[in-house]
């Protein structure tokens, strides 16, 4: 219509406002305090988005430093004490302040009330409190890093962390301890919300699988996090009183710390991956227009992962002097816990059969997730095999394995989810072409970074090494490949950061249901009004029940979406500016 951007935007806005209620959660209130004191789960989700992005950037910068150092075997970029801090900071930032809160904090907070048809979380104030606790924990830890850092590794193994390290272990531990309560409160809110706030007709088996997965995540947060909290508290007390229950001088056993640490930290891996599986279930259903194959199996596999995930922590202790028999028990259950994950992968694949598969960016990330998570999961079986683990324990094989799960799984799911719900969150479309390109770059960069590390690990390169033997040229070749891949991956991650920010101002306006999806979140305007739905929704359909688009009701006033007109959703927005 108009060629002038501003005018076009204005026209678009006007047209958009004519179709949808003018007030949404983003423009309901203005000013910094309307954000910092908000009790709206959607705004809290955005607060999390900003803060986890910040911590992710810091963690990513440390990762870059690690990769640069390992370009050469000599350890000549930084001193070993610096390097030790760098990998510790990378781990702490990524694990505690990105991977654990990312999807639950951002997408879980934003979507769960929308998906179940509630006005908000059950405890909006506690929800806000959990963000403040998260920020307090994050900033305290960040201060510890700024003041001089921590060099214990993110695992804080005693007695190094208690009696030997003279870095800021207590302060960083305090930050992580505080952050734990954020996780607990988030989990508490998810559980209570899912139980008590569902809309009329929203039975358990009509819930989107996203909610099931987050429910399972919340179980782990509630039952696991307190154990690491007490463990870190005991470690801090041991540092303060110079003596403690893990101290061999009193007859204490350092391995007890490892038990208590991994009791949380292994299930924590499922805190990181289950929400990502939640996203993938939604994305696969939406972008194949089919109900998830074997809904109840996928739903219960989440709960099975949450329960069995608590029984396997000892597989981190196979060479730690744990009893051989305990090792056998933990090993066997570790193989069992792999099965629910495998069931999910098979079901997602089966969902695509005879589907209507789109190549939109969220689906590209779902493809990437399934493939990479499969490799990550299968190499987990390698590590759960007792005799094999003796060789690869604490080597780059482990590093590659958990990056395939954490980056290939969690980060891919997070990016896929962000793209999938970006139109809902901001009311704007992201640029599809750039997004597909970035997804490809991320995929290539990721594999180039982490696949060589499997080979390095099997060849015997231990993890957390600042330098490696000069007499092994192949090791350096693989490290150089890995660093090259990390560069590509870093660029691939910067592209979405740029276009997401760009799209908030310049992106095309998104319709209520761009893909289209069947969940309740797609039946309210984009962005949603403050209390989510203009009238309380009554659910009369099953999960993922695809119908012709005309039959998809929108909740409350406002027209249903336009019929699909053969255009790509990104071009289907109401804003019609020519670019």
């Amino acid at each position: 219509m108009s060629t002038n951007t501003t005018a076009a935007a204005a026209t678009g806005t006007r047209e958009w406002r004519s179709r949808f209620p003018t007030v949404n959660y983003l423009n309901a209130d203005y000013g910094i305090w309307s954000w910092l004191l908000t009790k709206d789960h959607k705004r809290i989700g955005l607060l999390y988005l900003i803060s986890v992005s910040f911590f992710f950037a810091i963690g990513g910068a440390y990762a870059g430093a690690i990769r640069l150092e390992l370009l050469t075997p000599m350890g000549d970029l930084m001193q070993s004490s610096t390097y030790n801090k760098v990998f510790t900071h990378h781990g702490i930032m990524m694990v505690f302040f990105f991977l654990i809160p990312a999807i639950p904090g951002v997408l879980g907070n934003f979507l769960i009330p929308l998906m179940i048809g509630a006005k908000d979380m059950a405890f909006p104030k506690i929800n806000l409190l959990s963000w403040y606790i998260f920020m307090a924990g994050g900033l305290i830890t960040f201060c510890a890093l700024l003041f001089g850092g921590v060099d214990t590794g993110w695992t804080f193994y005693v007695p190094y962390s208690s009696n030997f390290s003279n870095t800021y272990v207590t302060l960083a531990g305090l930050g992580i301890f505080i952050n734990g309560f954020s996780s607990i409160l988030t989990g508490l809110n998810f559980i209570v919300t899912t139980h008590t706030m569902r809309a009329p007709g929203m039975t358990w088996f009509r819930l989107p699988l996203f909610v099931w997965s987050h429910y399972a995540t919340a179980l782990i947060m509630i039952l696991g996090t307190p154990v690491i909290a007490i463990t870190i508290l005991l470690l801090a007390l041991e540092r303060l009183s110079h003596v403690g229950i893990f101290d061999p001088a009193l007859g204490g056993d350092p391995v007890l710390f490892q038990h208590m640490f991994w009791f949380y930290s292994h299930p924590a891996v499922y805190i990181m991956i289950l929400p990502s599986m939640a996203v993938i279930s939604e994305v696969v259903a939406t972008h194949t227009r089919k109900p998830i194959f074997g809904y109840s199996f996928v739903a219960f596999s989440s709960l099975a992962i949450a329960v069995f995930g608590f029984l396997v922590w000892g597989h981190h202790l196979f060479v730690s002097s744990q009893s051989v028999y305990a090792g056998m028990i933990f090993s066997m259950i570790s193989f069992v816990v792999a099965i629910p994950s495998a069931v999910k992968v098979f079901n997602w694949t089966a969902t695509m059969y005879k589907g209507s598969i789109s190549y939109d960016t969220p689906m590209l990330y779902a493809f990437a997730f399934i493939g990479l998570f499969l490799i990550g999961g299968m190499t987990g079986l390698f590590l759960a095999a007792l005799g094999f683990d003796i060789h690869v324990h604490d080597t780059y094989f482990v590093v590659a394995h958990f990056h395939y799960v954490m980056v290939g799984g969690t980060v891919m799911g997070y990016l896929g989810g962000l793209h999938n719900w970006w139109p809902k969150i901001t009311g704007r479309m992201y640029p599809e072409g750039w997004a597909r390109f970035a997804a490809l770059v991320v995929f290539v960069g990721f594999n180039l970074t982490f696949f060589p590390q499997f080979l390095l690990g099997y060849m015997g390169m231990p993890r957390r090494y600042h330098a490696y033997p000069v007499g092994e040229p192949m090791w350096q070749v693989l490290h150089v490949m890995s660093t090259g891949g990390a560069t590509v991956l870093g660029i691939g991650l910067l592209i979405p950061a740029v276009y997401f920010i760009w799209s908030m101002r310049y992106g095309r306006f998104a319709p209520a249901n761009p893909w289209p999806g069947t969940g309740l979140e797609w039946r309210t305007p984009s962005p949603p009004p403050t209390e989510n739905f203009l009238v309380t929704p009554v659910v009369t359909w099953e999960a993922y029940e695809y119908r012709p688009i005309e039959e998809l009701q929108t909740i409350g006033p406002g027209e249903p979406d336009q019929p699909i007109d053969g255009q790509h959703p990104a071009n289907r927005g109401t804003e019609t500016e020519e670019r």
Binding site: G251, V255, F263, G314, S321, Q322, S323, V324
Partner: protein
């Protein structure tokens, strides 16, 4: 679901039982039952806990969901304790030294 109001007499009865339980556990501690010491003490403590849970905390009158939560917290606590014990109790089984000797 309307809430159940527990009569005052129940509270007093439970209170009495808790005091008696305390007296018994103190009395029992002065006798040496050998390996049974802990079992006796823990049985009494668990009984007292159940009284508090069921009556003071109204679990007896609560929904099934609350029962599930109470059951699962004990289940998870047992996972933590028992699976860790599998390590500590079987360290000496495999040969005399391998897998670790505790000393000091």
């Amino acid at each position: 679901m309307s809430e159940h109001i527990v009569p005052r007499t129940t509270y007093f009865a439970v209170f009495g039982a808790l005091l008696v339980g305390t007296a018994i556990t103190v009395a029992a501690a002065n006798f040496d039952f050998g390996r049974m010491n802990d079992i006796v003490a823990m049985t009494i403590a668990v009984t007292k806990m159940l009284l508090v849970l069921l009556f003071f905390m109204h679990v007896r009158y609560s929904s099934r969901l609350i029962w599930v939560i109470v059951a699962s917290m004990f289940f998870w606590l047992l996972i933590l304790l028992l699976l860790t014990l599998t390590d500590y109790s079987s360290r000496d089984w495999f040969g005399s030294n391998v897998g670790g000797i505790m000393s000091r």
